[in-house]
Symmetry: C2
Subunit: 250 residues, 2 copies
DNA sequence: CGACGGATTGATCGTGCTCAAATCATGTGG
DNA sequence: CCACATGATTTGAGCACGATCAATCCGTCG
């Protein structure tokens, strides 16, 4: 069997105990923790649309690198929006094999469930600040306001679209095609001035693409040697030939 | 590269031209085609909940084996519910590699999109009868009735949950684990009297599980020789040891 | 009965995994 | 400021799982 990984929640618990002043990060206080004073929010803000509509209270909270935000099958108390940082959502098999379903970047909403439990776990990839609202208050607002109900549907449908595309990638694309798709996705979502600063390590990328970290590294090296991309540090990447990359992503 | 399949929509066009009396099946008449007089509907009927609520018109339509119901990126005019038969939803890569995202069995709703186009194509696996309503009328109902809006969200969330589980399977499970998961899923969804009659061929199963049809066949043969399952014809399967199967699905 | 598509089984191949070592980057304490 | 420790990344060598190619078997339907 592939991927007999022993790693599990690496040093999460260590960081977690130091991370926040006192409280358990899984039950954030409504009075926000010492979070950054809300920097750059994205152009379109689905959270604002909802909270604006329904007059909900949104508070802020911060997580340290590798800190767990919520676990798989944990009660879903809050819905989150990334203000700064990055988050990974994932599922684990009993032996530690991990599938990352999505990366959440500034502006993204995550942790929205229809039912009362989280179907995937979520961890901060780097130090991260989020905005959050209680799920129950959203549900309540949706019960009276069709616009809110519609917005919740929109967001879930967006997640579904991503998952459908990702199933095709995981089931049928080659390693190189997966990496090409990944680079184009990240380029679209977080490129600034033609350059992207990846928040996640090679292992995260591998677990997102259904590959090992070595295979990801080899694919990136090959693209580098072909001049398709340039590095300035392993996580600072500039795409030099998007067209070529698009032709590789099948 | 794996899976250089040339097959594409096999004999769909042939069947299609014979299939329905006159009309293009992609624009079914509101006056139903000669469909079976609505046999066994499932216990919980999400369609009835909606149509009951909103007083929508639901008509019926039939498709022959391998007939296309709608194509990928085609405008989404209708939402469907399987009355009898079975349907596959899938995406294709340009070279014909196919990923089946879901099988739809009697009672299942499919083709519900948030946007105006279908993100996956759909084909009848065997002769199939569906109930259908216009997407626009659903949208309209959702605009005034929160219960309908909520129901649409529920259904999309159900699809998302399935997709999330399937990403884990496609990204991280071994061939045997995938087949075990598949058998348990089908057992749950279509077993009658401890036996299941699979509507789909080995290739469909392979394209659902991200495997080749040969690998699926070998896994099933191995399970057979281990006494975990019994055959009566390649598609009539009885599970003899569900516990064992569960322990294999990781 | 024969023809056909679907399924099984066998033999071999290749992509991506595993194991291992070297290199690079980052941060820490002297 | 530098030396070192640590983790991340790259690179290499070899292997295994599942793919490919091919032949047979089986069941169904004309």
């Amino acid at each position: 069997m592939y991927h007999l990984a022993i790693r599990r929640k690496e040093m999460v618990m260590l960081n977690q105990s130091i991370a926040n002043s006192v409280v358990n990060p899984n039950t954030p206080r409504t009075a926000p923790s010492p979070a950054a004073p809300s920097p750059a929010a994205p152009a379109v803000n689905p959270f604002a649309e909802i909270t604006g509509h329904a007059g909900l209270i949104a508070s802020e909270f911060s997580y340290k690198k590798d800190e767990e935000i919520y676990g798989e099958d944990e009660p879903s108390e809050y819905v989150y929006q990334v203000i700064s940082g990055a988050v990974r959502s994932y599922k684990l098999l009993s032996d530690g094999r991990r599938q990352i379903g999505a990366f959440h970047l500034p502006g993204d909403v995550f942790g929205l469930e229809f039912g009362s439990v989280h179907r995937l776990a979520a961890e901060a990839i780097i130090d991260t600040t989020v905005r959050l609202v209680k799920r129950r208050s959203l549900e309540q607002a949706a019960g009276t306001d069709v616009a809110v109900a519609r917005k919740l549907w929109t967001m879930t449908a967006g997640d579904l679209r991503h998952a459908e595309d990702h199933m095709l990638l995981l089931g049928r694309k080659t390693a190189m095609e997966r990496v090409a798709t990944f680079l184009l996705e990240m380029d679209r979502r977080l490129a600034v001035a033609g350059m992207m600063a990846l928040p996640m390590c090679r292992r995260d990328i591998g677990d997102y693409l259904g590959l090992t970290l070595e295979t990801v590294s080899r694919a990136l090296s090959q693209l580098h040697s072909q001049g398709v991309l340039g590095f300035s540090g392993a996580r600072q990447i500039v795409l030099r030939n998007r067209q070529r990359l698009r032709s590789m992503d099948a």
